[in-house]
Symmetry: C2
Subunit: 325 residues, 2 copies
Amino acid sequence: MLSEFDLIHRYFTRPPAADTRIALGIGDDCALLQPAPGMQLAISTDMLVEGRHFLAGADANALGHKSLAVNLSDLAAMGASPVAFTLALSLPTADADWLAGFSKGLLALADLHGCSLIGGDTTKGPLNICITVFGELPSSAALRRDAARPGDDVWVSGSLGDARLALAVSLGELPATDIDPELLALATKHLDMPTPRVALGIALRGIAHAAIDLSDGFAGDLRHVLERSGCGATIDVDALPAGPTIAAQPQARRRAWTLSGGDDYELCFTAPSHLRADVLAAGLAADTAVTRVGSIDAASGLRLRDRDGNPLALTPASFDHFLTP
Amino acid sequence: MLSEFDLIHRYFTRPPAADTRIALGIGDDCALLQPAPGMQLAISTDMLVEGRHFLAGADANALGHKSLAVNLSDLAAMGASPVAFTLALSLPTADADWLAGFSKGLLALADLHGCSLIGGDTTKGPLNICITVFGELPSSAALRRDAARPGDDVWVSGSLGDARLALAVSLGELPATDIDPELLALATKHLDMPTPRVALGIALRGIAHAAIDLSDGFAGDLRHVLERSGCGATIDVDALPAGPTIAAQPQARRRAWTLSGGDDYELCFTAPSHLRADVLAAGLAADTAVTRVGSIDAASGLRLRDRDGNPLALTPASFDHFLTP
């Protein structure tokens, strides 16, 4: 049987990154980071639990990808550039196949973003994955939740709702036979291997005011921005960019799941309306679709409208880990 | 029932720290740290799992303390000064009493070390506590595991073995009635609420060569230093500072549990022999006992001796989460 140290060495230790910001990587009591002068360090932590964030028996490679992707998505929402991360892992058994798949998915995404694994912890216990990620950005360049201003446009990257549809199929809420297999495969990929919008976040520095990443659902996450910024918003629900799979669904489901499906890992951001051309250019530069879906108001509250401007009486709920069964 | 956001707000949100290094704390996608010019950031992460690192039903206040203490101990072992930490928490239920106790123990220790909670994540699941801690230290000042040199003395802070004895009693390996109640209370405090040797680590900058914190047992942890430094050591097992409770135990048990008991959270460090007076002065300045227990050799391997210099044939094992039942 593999010892804890064998495990770490076999699957997670690689040659030290050629990165002057990483003064010391895996293998000591602490890792050492040396941020470039004038740069701030952006830090986020996410914990993924079996049965809550992913289903038992989830593909290990996809899980490795997603565990880091949800953290990179938080960096993207600040406009930060990825530098490094730590991984704490609780495993019921030291299963070599699982570890090989998990580390492959994890490190492939890490390499894509130049984000080095610099430390971690492994222990025996119920499956639990906790990543803490470090990014850097120039001082005062962060896209903060409290920076939305009345008159700003509200934008969304990519598309919404497909991850929720794939989850519904895997939970048996929707029969798989109702969905075109190719579209379902796309939706499942969105759920299992989301693309963190890192390049877009960086491209939006100096253009966007506020930003947040969409993990719990558009409406609930936007509310965090509104609360912290002390303002409100009017949103055209039919303008929310529906993913290719959810777009083919009935209107009520499409509206509900683009509005509050969760697990989208897109960015919602606000920007002054005179910078629309710059936002579109940032989207092009980052090869990421951006869609304008509404505007920030001085009056508090979230107002939902249909494409004709009529009020919609939807009551979107943000996902809450302790209230959902 | 408390929502996830209520939880975070009620128990873990406090006024922003008056700390210029913390540009942004809890409440956004990321926290923002701004290290002082010329300083490196030391980072460590530890995951604590019920049934593995603590027993079911463990006192919440003590658990809050210990969760941060084991991370601060890693900073101490680098000579880093605490700045901030993130907390990811998986909980079976949102139990207000438990959260009140846990946050009290956690934040009391954080306050003692000027270490601010800057971000986190809460989710529903089997009890799991993952803290990532951030400290700072001048560039090139870190006490690294690979820095031991032949001729160095080997030192240990505080005392060893009491935590292992308290664990033995709580597991029923030793009858509580065999131990003086006052001594047992001391040992239990060492196990449940260890004191991270932060001040000593900082005082040893520029004096000690290598350092490591003792979490898995003296012998196993020292081996990590020897392997990374490419050298060996000769240790006087009877010189290992026995805690007041283990000191009263039979010789064989005292030797075994000071040598490889685990959960001591003391520092083991090496320093040039011409700096003995400086090491003792650092211990005095940090109000922490320091004991010289052996020396670093050019020849690899760990040689154990009794107080008369005779070889001891003990085979100390380091704690391994996947090999112990």
